[in-house]
């Protein structure tokens, strides 16, 4: 019968693994959405880790979720890379959100190269964030991205269809965007804490309009629940009627066709 060994000795000798996760660093990468930050254990995106964003369809605010972060990161020296985005990023729209386009690189890749390109960018350590839209991704490839993000100390975002929610994922954070009954973000998994049972409301449209109004002194779009509000139509129409002028001032402008 061996002598009684104090527990503290074993712990000090590091012979017992305590199953404790790494300490969570809080507030390193705020998402720019205070309500979302409040429910996440890291008070923001997990730094140097993979975040997975699951969507029911394109165009429901998935970019606006990350744009405050991208706007902040593109003011730094490391670029943000988009790997195989599903559409063209609209340069003016991104500028309106405060993104510095000189720090935004777009990588076109075929379906089988998307994960390779994203991993290279993450692993390099030269990128602040990498956003990828993989057509096919399995558990193993996502784990590679997670490791690469950790190696390169970069934020990794993967945008996937909501149908993948049923499959387990090695991502540190999994968010699901929902549009009905209202716009909301479900936190499906967050490392370092329990996922909240209630969704976070995601009022991206109102916020965009109001912030735009503050920034430029005009409020061109009034979000109206009625939609066909005649007042809105009239006002916007008047603005629109002066639009043809915008081309007249630059009659010799010659542009490369976009894409």
């Amino acid at each position: 019968m061996s002598a009684v060994v104090p527990l503290s000795h074993l712990l000090d000798a590091r012979q017992v693994w305590r199953g404790e996760a790494l300490p969570i660093v809080e507030g390193e990468q705020p998402t720019g959405w205070p309500q979302l930050d409040a429910v996440l254990p890291t008070r923001g995106w997990p730094a140097g880790a993979l975040s997975e964003i699951l969507l029911p369809a394109d165009g429901i605010g998935e970019l606006r979720l990350v744009l405050p972060t991208l706007a902040r990161l593109t003011q730094g020296t490391r670029p943000v890379v988009l790997v195989a985005p599903p559409y063209l990023p609209c340069a003016m729209g991104w500028r309106q959100h405060g993104v510095n386009l000189q720090r935004l690189d777009i990588v076109d890749a075929q379906a089988q190269q998307v994960l390779w390109a994203a991993e290279q960018c993450l692993r390099s350590g030269s990128c602040a964030a990498v956003l990828a839209w993989p057509r096919q991704a399995d558990d193993r490839s996502l784990r590679r991205l997670q490791v690469a993000a950790d190696t390169g100390r970069a934020l990794a975002f993967v945008f996937r269809d909501r149908k993948h929610l049923a499959n387990a994922s090695p991502a540190s954070l999994r968010l699901e965007l929902a549009t009905s009954p209202r716009n909301a973000i479900w936190v499906r998994k967050c490392r370092g804490g329990n996922a909240p049972s209630q969704p976070v409301s995601f009022d991206h449209i109102q916020r965009f309009s109001s912030s735009r109004g503050e920034g430029t002194g005009t409020c061109p779009i009034l979000p109206s629940e009625g939609g066909r509000n005649p007042a809105v139509s009239t006002m916007a129409h008047q603005r629109g009627s002066c639009l043809p002028d915008s081309g007249l001032h630059h009659p010799h402008a010659r542009k490369k066709p976009s894409a």
């Binding site: 029911p56 369809a57 394109d58 165009g59 429901i60 605010g61 970019l63 744009l67 020296t77 490391r78 559409y87 063209l88 990023p89 609209c90 340069a91 003016m92 729209g93 991104w94 309106q96 386009l101 000189q102 935004l104 690189d105 777009i106 990588v107 076109d108 890749a109 390109a117 290279q120 390099s124 350590g125 030269s126 190696t151 549009t179 009905s180 449209i205 061109p220 779009i221 009034l222 979000p223 109206s224 939609g227 066909r228 809105v232 139509s233 916007a236 603005r239 629109g240 639009l243 043809p244 915008s246 081309g247 630059h250 009659p251 402008a253 010659r254 542009k255 490369k256 066709p257 976009s258």
Partner: protein
Amino acid sequence: MLWACLLLPQLALDGVLRRRADNSPLVLVDGPLNARTVVAVNASARAAGLRIGQRLTAAQALLARFEAMAYDASDAQRWQQFLAGVAYRYSSQVALLPHAIVLEVSKSQSLFGSWQMMERRLREDVGQLDFRHRLAAAPTPHGAYVLAGVRDGQTALSHEGMLRLLESVPLHKSRLPPAAVDALPRMGIRCLGPLLRMPRDGLQRRFGAELLRAMDRLTGDAPAGLDLYLPPDAVDWTVELSHEVENIAALVFPLKRMTGDLAAYLSGRDGGVQRFVLRLEHRDAPATDVTVGMLAPERSAEVLFDAARGRLEQVQLPAPVLALRLIADDLPGFVPAGRDLFDERPATALPLEQLRERLRARLGDGALYQWGTTIDPRPEHSQRISADSEGPLDPRPRPTWLLDRPIPLRGALRIIAGPERMETGWWDGGDTRRDYYIVETELGQRAWAFCPPDEQTGWMLHGWFA
């Protein structure tokens, strides 16, 4: 003055060996067809007992299987030129002597440090390129040349020191005219020291002015009379493969060598390369050209190799490859990328330029780009591939995703905002008359859609407010 001599005792063999990945016995043979003589042997052949000077038939009797290649003097010369380009990094005065390169190093010491440090760097450079070499330094180029031939690493920093070292050099290693080297030992003169002390008029009478000139060049009493090397402005190197290669993977080893050589050559020239061509030569088919273009001039061996390999791997070989040729006509100046002293990137980070080249090499030259806005109001022309953005911020809301070309949008829609009349583009025939709306689809997506003016039917989707 301090001259370094880089003696390359087996230049031709090293040149052959460095493009082979294996270590099987190999000899170089020369001479008339019926009396082939071994002129160089590699390590495994030497271990089997093959020696320089043997007849090829004798060698074949000693070892059943070995490869015999013809000695190619022009090949050796090419390698010597290449190494002169590498040495050019250390000095502007580089000259070629038989089997050797001499360079003046006294003026370079303020940049590279003392001769000991420079010697280490030179050895490292040449050793990395896999060339056997001997180094010596002396105040005269011919003195250094003789000392390097005697023993590796001899250094004479002063004139007296050089004379002391030359004192005991046997005449057959003195590189003096052969007639004198043959005759002098019979007169009891076996070393350089006594010869240098002999009365000059007697020597002139017996051996002519040639011997005295050579002795004066050796001691520095006469100018060395060397033609200085000038690096060429273009690179055109060929590696002939030892067999027909059908698989791209087998080209990776010679390619790595070539890009490494190119990097060494470029740093000798203090230049970079932005565009070069790999030409794969076939027996009957026309050569396959693989163009490697980079965003900026580069000269790092890894970047060059990465870029070349990525493009080479996408090539479909029409026929087996016999030779690999590297052609670089334009060698622009190289400006190292500026780095921030307080770089926020991790220490192990891959430089951004290298990452970009790696992505372009695998995904294609146009796969990596940036968008910039233009001042054209038409959405189709509102952005272009450019690092710069023109124009002020548009006060009207713009989507975050833009469709390449508009597509019909069906289903029930709810108008959120609009219309925004777009009536423009008359100046280049691309007239546009549309009403843009922000609409919401049944799925809750926010779309940027347009229809003909005042119609609100026939919706075309042009973007998403994602």
